[in-house]
Symmetry: C3
C-alpha cells in the first residue's frame, strides 16, 4: 500500500521498478542455495547495494550515496523501492542497514531538496520522507541499524526506526535529532519515534537543544543499544540478527505491530496535514534564510 | 463488580464462595485481636493459603498449586475469590503475594487450558485471566509481590500488577514476558502493564524477543524494585509494607487509581473483543501446533 | 490569554498591574544598554524580585515570600503577573527561577488557603494554581529552575514546569510531590507533569508514597538534571542558559510546544471540572481534619 501511494505520485517509478526487478534478489529465488551464496550481491540502484543471503534470510542494505548518504528525494525513493522488494520476499526475514560511506551513516534529509525549491517539489520530498519512515518503522522484517558513522537528523530517524541499533564506538561520531540547531523543527512523528526510544524527558531536552550525542552518551540514554569497535559493527549486527531470527516470525511481527501501530496510525491519518505543515513552514522566507546560512556555513567549513 | 462478572459466567462459584466464607478471614472479624493473632491462618482453597493478620491489616497470599503454580482456570478462579474476599474486608489494607512452591513464583498461564480445548473453554479461561489482572491491577490494597522464584509470562504479569516487587537474588531465577518464544503473543494489556513498569523501548525489545531476565537484569531495567537473599524475600516484603501502610489509605488509593485507570479502562471497554481475539488466535492450527511442540519440549526436558 | 482569564476572576488585579508597570523592566526598554546594565533590578512586587538583563535577554525571578515561599493565592497572583510581563516582552528570552529564602526553594501550596476557607476562596485559590502551572509549563521562554533549597509538593511542581532543573547538592534538602503524606492527592496535571519528567513507574511509586527525594536520589531518577554546590546554583543556571540561548527561538519554541501541548490541553479543556473536583475534595470534613492535624504537627515541630 505504501509503495502504491508512493507510485501514485511518481508514475515514472513503475518503469524503474520493473527494470530493477530483473536483476533483483527475487530472481535468485529459483536458484540453488549454493548458487545464491555465490552471487548474493544484487544492487537495486547505484546508490543502494542490497546483499540478500537466501540461506540465512538476512539482507544487508548498504547506503552508498556520496558523499554522506544525504536523504534526497531520489535516494529516498531508491531506499523505499529496495525495502519494498525485500518486504514482499517472504524468504527475507531480517534486514541490516549500514553505510558504505566513510565516517557517516547518513547525514539526514538533503537540505538542497528543501532550499530554493518549489512548493510542489517540497511536497514530493516530504511524502518520500514520510514513506521511508512508514516503511521502516512498520516493517515486518527484523531491522538492525549498523550505525558505522555519524547519524544526525534524518539519519538518526532512520536508525530509530530499526528494532536494534549497534553503533561504532568512535567518539568522533555523533547521533541525534539536531533540527533546531538548523532553525527547523522535527515533526511530530520524529518526536514520537524518539519518545518511544528514549522516553519523554530525554526527548524534550534533546529536541529543544538539537542535541547530538557521542556514542557513549547515546548508549547511556538508550538512543543506541550497543557500542562495538568500528570494524565489528556489521559482524555484531549479523550475530545479533541470529538471536532475533530464533523467534517465530508471526509472534514477533504481531508484537512489533502492537507496539508501533498507534504511532504509525497517527501519521497515516495525518499525512496530508503533515505535508501541508511542512511545506508552509519550510517555504517561509525566514526559514529559507536560516537554511541558506547553514549551507553557507557548511561550504565554508569544507573550504 | 469484577467478581460478579466472573460469577455471571461461572454460576457454580457462588456456592463455593458461600462454603468458603465460613472458614474465611472474615469470620475472624468478631474475635478479639489476641485470638486473631493466634489463629491467623485461614486458607481459602487448597491451592491458595491466605494468612490475614488483623493486627497489622496485612494478608499474605501463598500460591501452593503444585508443581509450579500454573495459572489454570481453576487456580485463577481461586485466586480471584481469595482476592475479592480480602478486598471486601475494609480491615485488610495490604496484600503480599508469594509462592509456597520451591524455585518458582508462578510459571504463568496453564498451557493445558489453551491446548486442545474447545473454543468455549478458551473463552472461560481467558475471561479468568482478564479477571485476575483487573482485580490485582485495580486493587485498593497495597500489593507487594514477594517473587521467591522464577516468574515467566503470566507469572511476570501477576507480579507487575503489584505496587512493589521484591525478588530473590538467585541468578537461576528469571522473570519476563516470554510469550513470543512459545509462538504466542502477549495481549495489549500485558504490554500496557509492562510499558507502565519499564517504559516503551524496553518493552518493545523484551516482548519481541520474549526476554527472560535474571534478577540483576530485572532490577536494572526496573522490572523488579529490589533484590534480597532468597530467605529474606518475605520478611523484606513485610518491612516494606510498613512503609506503605504509613500513607493514608484514601489518598494512596485515589492516587493509585489515577495512575492505573486509563490502562484498566482500556481492557474493561474491550473485554469481549479481547476474548474473541484470543480465542481466534489460540485455536488456529498453526498456534496449536506451536503449543504442542512446546509441551513436547517441556516433557522431554523433564525426562 | 491566560492572564486575561486570571484577571477575569480577579478584577482588582488590573489596577495593581498598571501600578507595577511603572517600575517594571519594561520601562527600561527605552534606555541605553549601559544604563540598563546599571539598573537591572526591577521588582514586580515585594514578594517577587525580577532582574532582567536586557543585554543577555535573561531574567532572574527571585521568590522572597517569607518564611518559605508558600504558594498562597496572593503570591501565586504576583508570580503570574511577573511571568506574564516577561512573556510579553519579546526581548526576554530566558527566565531563571530561584529563591531568596534560606534553605527552601518553595514549600509548595499554602495550606492556609485550603484550610477553614469558604468554597469560593478555594475556587479562587485553585484557579491561581492552575494559572501558575499553565503559564510556566507553556512558557515560550527558556525556563531554568535554580533549586537552591527544599522543594516539596507545589514547589516541586513549579520546578518541573521548567526546561531544566539545577539543584543545590545539599543532602538536607529534598524534592518531590509528597501530597499523600498530608492525606491529599496530587491532581492529574501534577501527575502528568511528573510522568513527563521521570516516567510512569517512578511517578506511580513517588505519588503513592508521597516520596521526597534527596538531591542525589532526585538526580538519579531524573527529577533534577544537575547538582552543584549550593553557592554555584545560580551561576550554573546562568551558564546553562547560554547554551539554550544558542538555539533559534522559533524552532525551540515550536518544539517545546509540540512536546507539552497535549498535557496542557488536557487541563485547559478540563479546568472547571478540575476546580470542582478540588473544592469538593478539599472541603470534605475528613480532609479538613487531615490538614488541621498536619498544621498542628508543623506548629509543634516549630516550637
Amino acid at each position: 500500500m505504501a509503495l502504491r501511494a508512493c507510485l501514485r505520485t511518481k508514475p515514472g517509478l513503475t518503469g524503474l521498478l520493473s527494470q530493477l526487478s530483473s536483476c533483483s534478489s527475487h530472481g535468485a529465488a529459483h536458484m540453488s542455495p549454493a548458487l545464491v551464496a555465490q552471487r548474493r550481491s544484487s544492487s537495486t540502484s547505484q546508490k543502494i547495494k542490497v546483499d540478500f543471503d537466501q540461506s540465512t534470510g538476512v539482507a544487508v542494505m548498504r547506503m552508498q550515496s556520496p558523499p554522506v548518504n544525504s536523504l534526497s528525494l531520489e535516494f529516498l525513493t531508491d531506499v523505499c523501492i529496495a525495502l519494498e522488494k525485500l518486504e514482499m520476499d517472504k524468504s527475507c526475514r531480517g534486514l541490516i542497514v549500514t553505510s558504505s560511506q566513510p565516517k557517516v551513516f547518513s547525514a539526514g534529509l538533503n537540505i538542497l531538496d528543501m532550499y530554493g525549491k518549489s512548493p510542489e517539489h517540497c511536497v514530493e520530498f516530504w511524502k518520500a520522507v514520510q514513506e521511508m519512515w512508514l516503511k521502516f518503522y512498520g516493517s515486518n522484517m527484523i531491522t538492525i541499524a549498523a550505525v558505522n558513522g555519524s547519524s544526525p537528523a534524518g539519519g538518526c530517524l532512520l536508525s530509530m526506526t530499526c528494532d536494534y541499533r549497534i553503533m561504532a564506538d568512535n567518539p568522533r561520531y555523533s547521533i541525534g535529532l539536531n533540527e533546531t540547531q538548523l532553525g527547523i523543527v522535527a515533526p511530530f512523528w520524529f518526536k514520537d519515534t524518539m519518545i518511544n526510544t528514549v522516553g519523554h524527558r530525554t526527548t524534550e531536552m534533546a529536541l529543544q537543544l538539537g542535541l547530538l550525542y557521542s556514542p557513549a552518551e547515546a548508549l547511556k540514554i538508550g538512543l543506541v543499544d550497543q557500542l562495538v569497535p568500528e570494524d565489528q559493527v556489521l559482524t555484531t549486527a549479523t550475530e545479533t540478527m541470529t538471536k532475533w531470527l530464533a523467534i517465530p516470525d508471526h509472534a514477533r511481527q504481531l508484537t512489533k505491530s502492537m507496539m508501533r501501530k498507534p504511532t504509525i496510525d497517527k501519521l497515516t491519518s495525518n499525512r496530508e496535514a503533515d505535508v501541508n505543515n511542512f511545506v508552509k513552514f519550510i517555504t517561509k522566507d525566514s526559514i529559507q534564510k536560516s537554511l541558506g546560512m547553514y549551507l553557507e556555513m557548511l561550504k565554508r567549513r569544507k573550504a
